[in-house]
C-alpha cells in the first residue's frame, strides 16, 4: 500500500482514538477522600450527607436551582389546599437487596417519617393526606424518606475510615459508568490535597485558598452553592463583657470581610452580613458588610479596658479557620479590642462557627441556621419581607456576626470526566452516577 493511502487511514484512527477518549465509557474505580468520618452509613446523619446520595434516593430531588425534580416518583399532584398529595411511583425500581420497590414499601417508610400525615399506597402510587396544608412537602421529601435504590451499593464500610461502593447494575437510571467508588474517611484537607497532587485520589475536598493552586496544577474544581455560613458567634452564657451589646457591635463593625474574602478565601463564596445567602434569600445585600472602624473604636473606647479583651476559638479542621480568626483579631485590634485566638477553646468568648444550610426553603433554612447557632427561633415567614424582618431581628443583637457563605469545594483529577452535571448538588450531595474515568479508555 502506498504511503499516501495510509495517511487518511492513520488520521481516521487517531480521530477515533481521540473520540473514544472523550466519550463516556464504563469501568474504573473512583478514589474519593473526605474529611468527615461517619460512624455509619446513615442518610440522616449530617456527616454522611455526601455519601447518602450514592446509595439512597428519595421520591423527589432538587436540581441545581433548588427545584424539585422527579426521582423515585415520576410525577405528583396536590389539591388546592396542599393537604392531599398524589405521587406516581417509578416502575421497575429495585432495592439494593434485589427486591422491587413497591409503593407499599415507600409508603411504610414515609409513614414512619411523617407520623402526622396518612400515607397510603396504591398499585403504582402513593397518597399523602393531612389535616393541614403541606406546601413544603416536596422539599421535605427531597431531604427525607431515603430508600436504598441509588446508583451505587455499599459493599464495605469501616466506620470512620473507609467505605467502598459498587455500581448498581439494576439502577433504574442505568448502570453508572464507574465500577466502584472507594472513599477514604477522616482525611485532613492537607493530606487530601497532597493525595490529589500525587495521583492517589481523584476527588478530594479542598479549601478556598487551595482553589488557585488546584487549578494551576490542571485540576478541575467542583463547587456547590455557597451553603456554609461562616460566622462569629458570641457565647450565650459568656460572663461579663460577652453580654455587652456595644462590645459585640464594635466587634462586628471592625471586621474587614472583603480583604479576607479576597486573600484568605481567594474570592470563593460570598461576603455576607446575613444568615441566609444572597442566592437563597435575595435580600442578603441589604445587610451592610463594610467595616466602620470609627464607630467601632468609639464603641470600644466607651467600654472599660478589662472588657476589651476577648478570646476567639476556632476549629482547626475548618477551612482557613486559623487565618480567618487571626485576621479577625487584627481587625479587632484596629478598633481597640484585644482578641486572643485559640483552637477549640470551650471557654472562649466567641467562636468562629461554620453552619451548613440544611434546606433550600429560605424559612426552613433560616430556622435551621438559627437553631444551629443557638439563636432564637425566627418564627413563621409568610413572605420575603417577613423573612427579612425575622433575620434582621436575629442579627440585631450581634450575638452572631455572619462573615461569609462558602461553597463545598472539591479538587478533581484530570481523569475524572462528567457526562452530565451536576456532580455535586447545590446542597453538596454527590451525584457520581454521571461521571466516568478517562484513563480507562486507553
Amino acid at each position: 500500500m502506498r504511503l499516501t493511502a495510509w495517511l487518511p487511514l492513520a488520521a481516521i484512527s487517531a480521530f477515533a482514538i481521540c473520540a473514544a477518549a472523550s466519550r463516556p465509557h464504563y469501568g474504573g474505580t473512583l478514589r474519593v477522600e473526605m474529611r468527615a468520618a461517619p460512624a455509619a452509613l446513615d442518610p440522616a446523619a449530617p456527616d454522611a450527607n455526601a455519601l447518602r446520595s450514592l446509595v439512597f434516593e428519595t421520591l423527589v430531588r432538587l436540581d441545581s436551582e433548588g427545584l424539585p425534580q422527579p426521582c423515585l416518583a415520576v410525577s405528583w399532584q396536590h389539591d388546592a389546599t396542599a393537604k392531599h398529595w398524589h405521587f406516581t411511583m417509578r416502575s421497575g425500581v429495585r432495592m439494593h437487596d434485589g427486591s422491587p420497590l413497591t409503593p407499599a414499601t415507600a409508603a411504610a417508610s414515609l409513614q414512619a417519617l411523617f407520623p402526622g400525615v396518612t400515607v397510603t399506597a396504591t398499585a403504582d402510587a402513593i397518597a399523602i393526606r393531612a389535616n393541614h396544608s403541606l406546601p413544603e412537602l416536596l422539599l421535605d421529601l427531597a431531604h427525607n424518606g431515603w430508600l436504598s435504590t441509588g446508583p451505587f451499593r455499599s459493599t464495605a464500610f469501616e466506620p470512620g475510615r473507609h467505605a467502598t461502593f459498587a455500581a448498581n447494575d439494576d439502577y433504574w437510571g442505568g448502570r453508572p459508568y464507574l465500577d466502584a467508588i472507594e472513599v477514604e474517611l477522616g482525611r485532613a484537607l492537607r493530606d487530601q490535597l497532597a493525595d490529589l497532587e500525587l495521583g492517589k485520589a481523584d476527588v478530594v475536598e479542598i479549601g478556598p485558598n487551595d482553589v488557585h493552586r488546584a487549578r494551576e496544577h490542571g485540576r478541575t474544581v467542583w463547587s456547590s452553592a455557597p451553603i456554609d455560613l461562616i460566622a462569629l458567634l458570641f457565647a450565650p452564657a459568656s460572663p461579663g463583657h460577652a453580654e455587652d451589646s456595644p462590645l459585640r457591635e464594635a466587634m462586628a463593625l471592625s471586621i474587614d470581610r472583603a480583604a479576607m474574602h479576597t486573600v484568605l478565601l481567594q474570592k470563593q463564596g460570598e461576603v455576607t452580613a446575613a444568615l441566609l445567602p444572597q442566592w437563597l434569600s435575595g435580600y442578603a445585600f441589604a445587610f451592610p458588610t463594610a467595616p466602620d472602624l470609627p464607630r467601632a473604636r468609639a464603641l470600644a473606647n466607651a467600654l472599660p479596658s478589662a472588657a476589651r479583651t476577648l478570646t476567639l476559638s476556632y476549629d482547626p479542621a475548618m477551612r482557613a479557620a486559623r487565618a480567618l480568626a487571626e485576621r479577625v483579631a487584627v481587625n479587632a485590634r484596629d478598633a481597640g479590642l484585644t482578641v486572643q485566638t485559640a483552637p477549640q477553646n470551650p471557654h472562649a468568648d466567641l467562636q468562629l462557627a461554620a453552619v451548613r444550610l440544611t434546606s433550600l426553603d429560605p424559612a426552613q433554612a433560616l430556622a435551621g441556621l438559627a437553631a444551629a447557632l443557638g439563636l432564637p427561633s425566627p418564627g413563621p415567614a409568610e413572605s420575603p419581607e417577613t423573612l427579612y424582618e425575622s433575620e434582621r431581628k436575629l442579627l440585631d443583637s450581634f450575638r452572631a456576626i455572619p462573615l461569609f457563605h462558602l461553597p463545598m469545594l472539591y479538587g478533581v483529577s484530570s481523569r475524572v470526566r462528567v457526562a452530565a452535571p451536576p456532580q455535586v448538588t447545590c446542597l453538596g450531595d454527590w451525584r457520581f452516577d454521571n461521571i466516568w474515568l478517562a484513563g480507562n479508555a486507553l
Partner: protein, 583 residues
C-alpha cells in the same frame, strides 16, 4: 582605772584597730579588684554584642538581598504588576521564604505599600506599610533597628529593606531578625552575669527606670548599680548600651547585668574573718597583755605598797624587785630612799634627843639655878652670920639674938627653896609618869565650867574677860575627866599668861564630825610660825617661867583620848587652840 586595766585596754584597742585597718585595706583592694574584673567582663560582653550585632547586620542584609534577587521574587513582581494582579495567591509566600533564609521577620510589600505577605503576622495582609515608600535608597542602606509589631506584642527587630525591581514594577522585601531571647542566648555569659534587652517604650521594672532615663539623657552608654532588695547581695551593676534607630532615636537598650552577690558574699566572709581575727587577736592580746602588764605592774604595785607602808610609818620597808630595767632602778632608788630616811630619822631623833636633853638641862639648870642662888646666898649669909658670931664671941660677948634671927630666916628660906626644888622635880616626875586615861561619860561643857572656877580670881586680877560659847546640844563624850580637866586648865592658864595686860578669853564648844570641838582663844600677842611648830615640844616654852611641859601634857592627854589638837596663831592676833574629840 588601774594602770593594768589601761594597759589591757590599750592592747585590745591597738589590736582591734590594726585588724580593722588591715581588713579595710583588704576589703578595699578586693572591691576594686572585683570592680576591675566586672568592668573587664562587661567590656568583653559589650564587644561581643557589637560583634554579634554587626555579624547579624551582614547576614540579614545578605539574606534579604538574596530574596529580593531571587527569580521567584521577580516573577512575583511581574505577577503583581498586571492589571488583574491577584495578591491573594502570595499571601503565604513569606513564611517559607523566611524559614529558608533564617529570618524571623519577612514582609513582601507591594509598590502601593500594602502587605502582600507577612511571615511574622500572616493576618496583616493588605495592611499598609507606608513608611517603606518614603525612601528610595533602601538598597544602599545598612540594616537598622525597627520596632516590629507582632500578634503577641512588640519586638525589636534588626531589619533590612531591599527593593526588587522589574522594569517599572517593584516589590519591597522587608526582612530581619528579632533581637530577643534567641539573640541573647547567642552570648556566652560568665557566671553571675546576664544580658537583657529593653525595648522602647516597653514597661520594665521600676528599679531599672533610672538607668534607662540616664541613658536617654546621655545618649550614650551608662552604668548604674541596681539594688533589687534591701539585701546588699541583690545588687546588680548594669551597663546599658543604647540601641539607636535609623534617625538616631532611642529604640531600646542592651543591658549587661553583673551580679554583686559574689563580691558581697566575699566581703561578708572577709568581715566575718576580720571579726574572728579581731576577737581572737583581742583575746590573745588580753592574755599577752595580762601577762605582760603583770610583769610590768607587779614591781610598781610593790613600790606602791612600799610607799604606803612608809607613809604608815614603816620606814623599814624594802621592795623586792629583781629586774634591771627602769622599774628595777626605781625600786632600788626606793629602797635607798627608805634606808636614807631611816638613817636621817635616826640622826634626827638622836639630834632631837640631844636637843631635848640640852633643853632639859637648860630648863633644869634654869629651874634649879633660881632656888640654888638663894640657897647659896642664904648659906653664905648663914656662914657670915656664924663667922660674925664667932668673931664677936672671940672679941666680946656675942649677940645671940641676931644670929638666931638670921638662922631662922635662912633656914626658912632654905626650906622654901628646897620646896621649890621638890616641886620642880615633882612636875618632871609627873610628866614622866603620865597615866593611861580612865574613860567615862563626861559633859564637856560642865568640865569647862569646873575648870574655869579655879581661875576666876586670877582672870579678875589679870583683867581677862571670859566669853563662853558652849553648844547646848553637845553630846557627852568618853574621857578621863581628871586628865582632860588638867589639859583644859593648862590651856586656860597659858591664855591668862599670854594676856598679862588683860584681854578676852573665849571658849567655844560645838558638835564636830560626830564628836565635839573645843576652842580656847586668847587675844594675846600671838605666836610666830616657828613657835607654833615647836609649841608642843616638851620643855619648850615661850614664857620666862614654867617647865615647858604644859602644852606637851595637853597634847599627850588629847592624843591618849584619840583626839587631835591644833593651834592657829599669828603675831598680834592672839592664839586659838582647837581640840577635836570623838564622842
Amino acid at each position: 582605772m588601774t594602770f593594768r586595766t589601761r594597759l589591757l585596754i590599750a592592747f585590745a584597742v591597738t589590736v582591734a584597730v590594726a585588724v580593722s585597718f588591715v581588713g579595710a585595706i583588704v576589703s578595699t583592694t578586693t572591691r576594686r579588684a572585683f570592680e576591675r574584673l566586672d568592668q573587664q567582663r562587661v567590656s568583653a560582653l559589650a564587644a561581643q554584642f557589637h560583634q554579634e550585632y554587626f555579624r547579624r547586620q551582614r547576614e540579614i542584609a545578605q539574606q534579604v538581598r538574596d530574596i529580593a534577587d531571587a527569580e521567584s521574587t521577580r516573577d512575583m513582581v511581574i505577577a503583581l504588576s498586571g492589571p488583574d494582579a491577584d495578591p491573594s495567591i502570595y499571601v503565604d509566600a513569606a513564611q517559607p521564604l523566611a524559614t529558608a533564609h533564617n529570618l524571623d521577620f519577612l514582609e513582601l510589600v507591594s509598590a502601593s505599600g500594602s502587605i502582600v505577605s507577612s511571615a511574622q503576622w500572616p493576618a496583616r495582609f493588605l495592611y499598609q506599610e507606608d513608611w517603606v515608600k518614603q525612601r528610595d535608597d533602601w538598597n544602599s542602606r545598612e540594616p537598622f533597628l525597627y520596632p516590629e509589631e507582632l500578634p503577641t506584642g512588640g519586638a525589636l527587630a534588626l531589619i533590612s529593606v531591599r527593593v526588587a525591581t522589574v522594569g517599572d514594577s517593584k516589590l519591597y522585601v522587608i526582612g530581619g531578625q528579632s533581637l530577643g531571647r534567641e539573640f541573647l542566648q547567642s552570648f556566652v555569659l560568665p557566671a553571675g552575669m546576664r544580658a537583657l534587652l529593653y525595648r522602647e517604650p516597653q514597661s520594665m521594672d521600676a528599679a531599672l527606670a533610672p538607668l534607662i532615663d540616664a541613658m536617654r539623657k546621655q545618649h550614650g552608654e551608662v552604668t548604674r548599680t541596681i539594688q533589687w532588695s534591701p539585701d546588699a547581695a541583690s545588687a546588680e551593676t548594669f551597663h546599658a548600651i543604647p540601641l539607636m534607630g535609623p534617625a538616631g532615636e532611642l529604640m531600646g537598650a542592651f543591658l549587661v547585668g553583673s551580679s554583686r552577690a559574689a563580691q558581697v558574699g566575699l566581703e561578708r566572709f572577709m568581715v566575718r574573718v576580720e571579726i574572728l581575727v579581731a576577737v581572737g587577736g583581742i583575746l590573745l592580746a588580753l592574755l599577752v597583755a595580762f601577762w605582760t602588764t603583770a610583769r610590768i605592774t607587779r614591781p610598781v604595785e610593790a613600790l606602791a605598797a612600799g610607799a604606803r607602808a612608809v607613809a604608815a610609818g614603816d620606814w623599814h620597808t624594802q621592795v623586792q624587785v629583781h629586774s634591771y630595767d627602769e622599774i628595777g632602778a626605781l625600786a632600788a632608788a626606793f629602797n635607798q630612799m627608805t634606808r636614807e630616811l631611816l638613817e636621817q630619822r635616826d640622826r634626827l631623833v638622836q639630834a632631837e634627843r640631844v636637843a631635848a636633853w640640852r633643853e632639859l638641862a637648860r630648863r633644869l639648870a634654869h629651874e634649879l639655878k633660881n632656888p640654888l642662888f638663894p640657897l647659896q646666898i642664904t648659906v653664905e649669909n648663914l656662914q657670915r652670920a656664924r663667922a660674925g658670931q664667932l668673931a664677936e664671941q672671940a672679941s666680946g660677948p656675942a649677940q645671940p639674938d641676931e644670929f638666931d634671927e638670921i638662922f631662922r630666916e635662912s633656914t626658912a628660906t632654905l626650906l622654901a627653896e628646897l620646896g621649890k626644888l621638890r616641886g620642880i622635880v615633882g612636875r618632871f616626875s609627873d610628866f614622866a609618869k603620865m597615866p593611861q586615861p580612865q574613860l567615862e561619860t563626861v559633859d564637856l561643857n560642865g568640865l569647862v565650867h569646873d575648870s574655869l572656877k579655879l581661875f576666876e580670881a586670877q582672870m579678875w586680877a589679870a583683867g581677862v574677860e571670859l566669853r563662853l560659847d558652849l553648844a547646848a546640844d553637845l553630846r557627852a563624850i568618853r574621857a578621863d575627866p581628871g586628865q582632860l580637866g588638867r589639859a583644859l586648865q593648862n590651856l586656860v592658864m597659858n591664855a591668862i599668861d599670854a594676856m598679862p595686860s588683860g584681854g578676852v578669853l573665849s571658849i567655844r564648844s560645838a558638835p564636830y564630825e560626830g564628836g565635839v570641838r573645843l576652842e580656847v582663844s586668847d587675844t594675846g600677842q600671838g605666836l610666830t610660825q616657828e613657835e607654833c611648830d615647836r609649841l608642843f615640844t616638851p620643855y619648850y616654852t615661850t614664857k620666862t617661867h614654867g617647865t615647858g611641859l604644859g602644852l606637851a601634857i595637853v597634847q599627850s592627854v588629847v592624843s591618849d583620848h584619840g583626839g587631835k589638837i591644833g593651834v592657829d596663831s599669828a603675831p598680834g592676833k592672839g592664839t586659838t587652840f582647837c581640840i577635836d574629840l570623838a564622842a
